[in-house]
């Protein structure tokens, strides 16, 4: 929704600008709180991820896997004109599917993890499909139905896990660990980043990023999805089945978020579904990642790694008696200023357009569809 032409560098430049402001404000906050520790504290934010060398880098990639995927889910939906605020629900339902297969299906051998992963994808897709169907056929705003689906998914998963003995660990009030065969293989990444929690999930995430990029930018199917996002009525007039496009957009967004859940709970790092009545945070982090990455798949990839990197550094901040929330504050400021950066971009492109218009005085002024559309419905 933010960009429609081929890659242009003003977007990246303005993101870098926002990041610098965010970091600067973070430094100022540290200074205000505790001037003597501010400099080493800030240094830790920037380099903390490297504290344990290759292991630390591996942890960054491990942590980024989930948020890249939820970010991609939200970003993809944005590109097709939908606001997928329901990534949290799709995430937890997908994670549940993966855990269920991971514990219950015992005789699948080496394809066990693939089946578990795909179950997560399918359940996530299903959870995304419902708001899609409601939007396409009953004109239900996808924001509200997705918020409802978040809660239904969260309570449903808690209910199921808690009442189903074979997958419930009632001492720790969470799901049991999945079987060894259901864990995503390391795919050689443990050799590159010894001792870290990284696994094949990261490679899968990168693969999905590339896949989404190709589908959105290089295929007719992706073009149709985006066209419906820009203008539903015009797309129908152009012969696109706009209802199908809306449903498919949400199905794909849901599938990616479901994959995120599956990747987290099949990582073999001791992550279990905790029975707490709270919406999963990952979906909302996904919104931040998507926006920071300008909703472009490749941008989302880097934004996810960047936020994971800051979070890893923030973890060590506790050594200096700062709370880790400073990282969230910094990221929030970065996102806030990235919204400004879009304005800067708009000014730049307007200047260019004015130049273009001056050159072709007598021709009819070109229409700018972006002005009309602007913000999608939210």
């Amino acid at each position: 929704m933010l960009k429609k032409k081929k890659f242009d560098y003003t977007g990246v430049l303005s993101s870098v600008f926002a990041i610098l402001i965010g970091l600067l404000m973070g430094f100022v906050i540290l200074l205000l709180c505790n001037p003597s520790q501010a400099v080493p504290g800030f240094f830790t934010i920037l380099t903390g991820a490297f504290t344990h060398g290759a292991k630390g880098v591996g942890q960054v990639f491990y942590y980024s896997t989930t948020i890249i995927l939820t970010g991609l889910s939200v970003g993809f939906a944005f590109k097709t004109g939908l606001f997928n605020i329901g990534a949290s629900g799709q995430f937890i339902v997908g994670g549940f599917g993966a855990v269920y297969v991971g514990i219950m299906c015992k005789n699948l051998g080496s394809i066990h993890w693939v089946v578990a992963l795909l179950t997560g994808v399918v359940l996530g897709a299903l959870w995304g499909m419902i708001p899609g169907l409601l939007k396409a056929f009953f004109n239900v705003n996808e924001v509200i139905s997705a918020i409802m689906m978040n809660y239904i998914g969260m309570y449903g998963v808690n209910w199921f896990v808690k009442s189903y003995k074979p997958i419930f660990n009632n001492i720790r009030n969470e799901s049991k660990p999945v079987l060894e065969t259901a864990n995503i293989p390391k795919m050689g990444l443990d050799k590159l980043f010894p001792e870290s929690s990284i696994n094949g999930g990261f490679l899968i995430a990168v693969l999905v990023v590339i896949l989404v990029y190709i589908v959105l930018d290089k295929t007719t199917f992706g073009y149709e999805l985006k066209a419906v996002g820009y203008n539903r009525d015009a797309s129908r007039y152009a012969g696109i089945n706009e209802k199908k496009s809306i449903v498919l957009s949400m199905v794909i967004a849901g599938a990616i978020a479901g994959l995120a859940g599956a990747c987290l709970y099949l990582a073999g790092t001791g992550k279990h579904i905790e029975i707490v009545d709270v919406i999963a945070d990952e979906g909302f982090t996904g919104i931040s990642v998507a926006l920071l990455g300008l909703c472009h798949p490749i941008g989302v990839l880097f934004a996810g790694i960047f936020i994971a990197y800051l979070t890893a550094g923030g973890f060590y901040l506790q050594l200096f008696e700062f709370s880790v929330e400073i990282i969230d504050i910094i990221v929030a400021i970065i996102i806030y200023f990235s919204a400004f950066a879009l304005m800067v971009k708009l000014i730049l492109s307007k200047l260019e357009k004015k130049k273009g218009m001056a050159e072709q005085v007598n021709k009819t002024p070109p229409n700018d569809p972006k002005q009309e559309r602007g913000g999608e419905e939210a």
């Binding site: 605020i85 004109n139 918020i147 996102i335 559309r373």
Partner: protein, 317 residues
């Protein structure tokens, strides 16, 4: 009969904050600015006002303290919402982005500051604000039990805000201009309305009401504030859409949601429902499922304010 009263009172605890915040969101969206930062503004409003109650807990108590806390919550909300207004109106930013930024900032800020001030992130407070029975009115049969027992002054404020909002939106010049800005800002501008000023007003009202809603949500349901309003800002957004951006419909939507929520929270105390043997999780899911079903039947003609979410650009054609 006492069960009915109990459910009714519980419904109020859930509905009133939703109503207040959704009405706030309505003012913003009817002026043309989408405000998904309601959650963050609620958190900030609750944070500063609960912190005030915590810090003055030894020297003050009762309704006077609550009233000052209410003012603090509203002022906080207005100040915090100005960030959204500036980004959305002056900088013509994508309103989802700045809203998301505010949502992310608020809980982090609340935890960060609470830790600096008192070492832990939970802020405890003494609830000295509950009114057992309003004098005179509380002794009226039935009505007294429904409306004037086991209540808070915030409940009446919520109802007052609903009435005032309806009048302001539909019966005043300000309301007409605000709605015009949300539907066709260019036309409003041509008629001499200062669109930017109206949109600032809309966002600031939403900030005040969302900040207040944060306090109203926390006080009856908890005795500490843990940097979160449990997704109520997003639910209020849902109620706003459910209520199709109209005050009276928003009231029905929030009552509907509050009632199902109250039943889910209190069903074990109701013999009839408890005996049916329905698992508690199903009750917890019912408010959301029921809302979805109602939406299917009521959304066919649902239409957001036309210019909502589109930054107003004077020069645009």
């Amino acid at each position: 009969m006492s069960v009915v009263y109990f459910i009714f009172q519980q419904t109020m605890f859930f509905s009133i904050p939703l109503l207040i915040v959704a009405l706030g969101g309505m003012f913003s969206e009817r002026s043309g600015v989408i405000n998904i930062a309601l959650e963050g503004i609620m958190t900030m409003g609750a944070f500063t006002s609960i912190l005030f109650i915590n810090l003055t807990g030894n020297s003050m108590s009762g309704q006077g303290q609550l009233l000052i806390a209410i003012v603090i919550a509203m002022v906080t909300g207005v100040v915090f919402s100005l960030f959204h207004a500036y980004a959305a109106i002056n900088m013509k930013a994508d309103q989802t982005i700045s809203g998301t930024a505010l949502n992310m900032f608020a809980p982090a800020f609340a935890i960060f500051v609470a830790r600096i001030i008192q070492g832990v992130q939970q802020i405890q407070f003494n609830n000295t604000f509950r009114i057992d029975s309003v004098p005179v009115l509380g002794s009226i049969p039935v009505i007294g039990d429904l409306f004037f027992k086991n209540t808070y002054i915030t409940t009446y404020m919520g109802i007052a805000i609903l009435i005032i909002s309806t009048i302001v939106l539909y019966k005043t010049r300000f309301g007409l201009r605000l709605r015009a800005c949300g539907e066709h800002p260019q036309a409003a501008d041509a008629a001499g309305v200062n669109v930017y000023r109206m949109q600032y007003a809309g966002v600031m009202i939403s900030g005040a009401l969302a900040g207040l809603g944060g306090l109203v949500f926390v006080v009856p349901t908890s005795t500490n504030f843990n940097a979160s309003v449990a997704g109520y800002g997003f639910l209020a957004l849902a109620v706003l859409i459910f209520g199709q951006w109209k005050p009276i419909r928003i009231m029905w939507a929030s009552l509907f949601f509050g009632l199902t929520k109250a039943v889910a929270a209190a069903y074990s105390g109701i013999p009839f429902l408890n005996n049916m043997g329905i698992p508690s999780y199903l009750y917890k899911m019912i408010p959301y499922i029921a809302t979805l079903i109602v939406l299917i039947f009521t959304s066919k003609n649902s239409q957001a304010p036309r210019a909502s979410g589109v930054p107003y650009d004077k020069g645009a054609r």
